[in-house]
Symmetry: C2
DNA sequence: GAAAATATGGAGACAATCTCCACTTGTCAA
DNA sequence: TTGACAAGTGGAGATTGTCTCCATATTTTC
């Protein structure tokens, strides 16, 4: 999986230009640009764009890899510094916040998590793992152990997918509230 | 909104043929068929197809209107016959079951609920209302009142959107479990 | 049964995606 | 250096899917 490919100098330059331009456009709220036009904007040929990023999602994933990695790092950090229960809560609350400070991230995550054919895309995979770890820790605390990370991911998926809704922010916070309350081990 | 339009005889015939063929194809797991080809399969011209159903979603909504209506009716029925808390639980559990007995419904609901531009499509709207009603009733019982129907809808949205996942069934049930547990009024 | 209203179908305009390959650029060994 | 080979490029055009338009056909109405 960890690819050791010594990309040629010009190739790397083009790739970086592509990502930089994409980041710029995403930040400006531009998502439905023609793929070909986008290549032109970045100053490379269509073929080059397609060679580096076969699909729109691949490009988005590259652009947001940092954000996703940041989220995963944050999960690790929270796990290391807070009691397990609090770490989980902080992560989920922070997840929604993060969505709002990075236009386009929600859209990317939604597609990453939706990845058909079983295997999650790399980013989605990593996120799933982060949630699973948080959950595993919290199970030593007050969190129930009969519900898996997949369930939480489905809910997060919903949050990402519904991003454009007018009442989204309130609803997203509501879901997180429900998740956190629901995850508490029920009195036996 | 409630349109009283006396459709011409042949028009109605074509419309029905279109819906019937779509239902048949959806049942067979066919979703990504070319829209034009689909018209041919149903034995009508492309123009006719587009006049009746301007978008793929419009067609899907027509095909699944019955299912969606059935779900809403079921909500009403449950509200009438069960204690509010149980009605809510039965509805959410049944929602997942229903998804599994009607191939394609999840996909349709996901797009209906995702509807951009604020206003939900008719079907999504109806479903939202059904959930809101169930929730309103249940608030007289053990359900908290600080989280709205929108939050539940977002979670359901996630369930629909993640339909193709290999572990989906378990995850979907997990989310419902979390929602139900989370909705219980927290001890003060 | 003729005029008016309504609906049809499918050719073709349009739009977006993606492939292919003749050519350019970079790398590296001698 | 330089030559030769590998790696990468760009963009014309093939391909595929969407949607419009309107001459023609069918239904309804009077």
């Amino acid at each position: 999986m960890t690819d050791a490919k010594p990309l040629r100098a010009d190739a790397r330059r083009n790739r970086d230009a592509l990502i930089a331009k994409a980041r710029e456009l995403f930040a400006g709220g531009c998502f439905n640009l023609r793929f070909d036009d986008f290549a032109k904007l970045a100053g490379v040929g269509t073929g080059t764009l397609y060679r580096h990023f076969p699909t729109r999602e691949a490009l988005a994933e590259a652009v947001y890899r940092e954000e996703i990695t940041a989220m995963c790092d944050r999960a690790r950090e929270l796990r290391a510094t807070l009691p397990a229960d609090e770490a989980l809560e902080a992560f989920l609350r922070g997840f929604v916040d993060h969505l709002y400070s990075h236009e386009g991230l929600a859209r990317t995550l939604a597609t990453l998590m939706a990845t058909r054919s079983g295997a999650l895309a790399e980013g989605g995979q990593a996120l799933h793992q982060a949630v699973a770890d948080l959950l595993a820790d919290a199970r030593t605390g007050t969190v129930r152990d009969d519900v898996g990370a997949g369930a939480v991911m489905v809910a997060l998926h919903g949050i990402c997918a519904a991003y454009d809704h007018p009442t989204h922010r309130a609803d997203a916070d509501g879901v997180v509230t429900l998740l956190l309350a629901g995850l508490r081990r029920p009195a036996t």
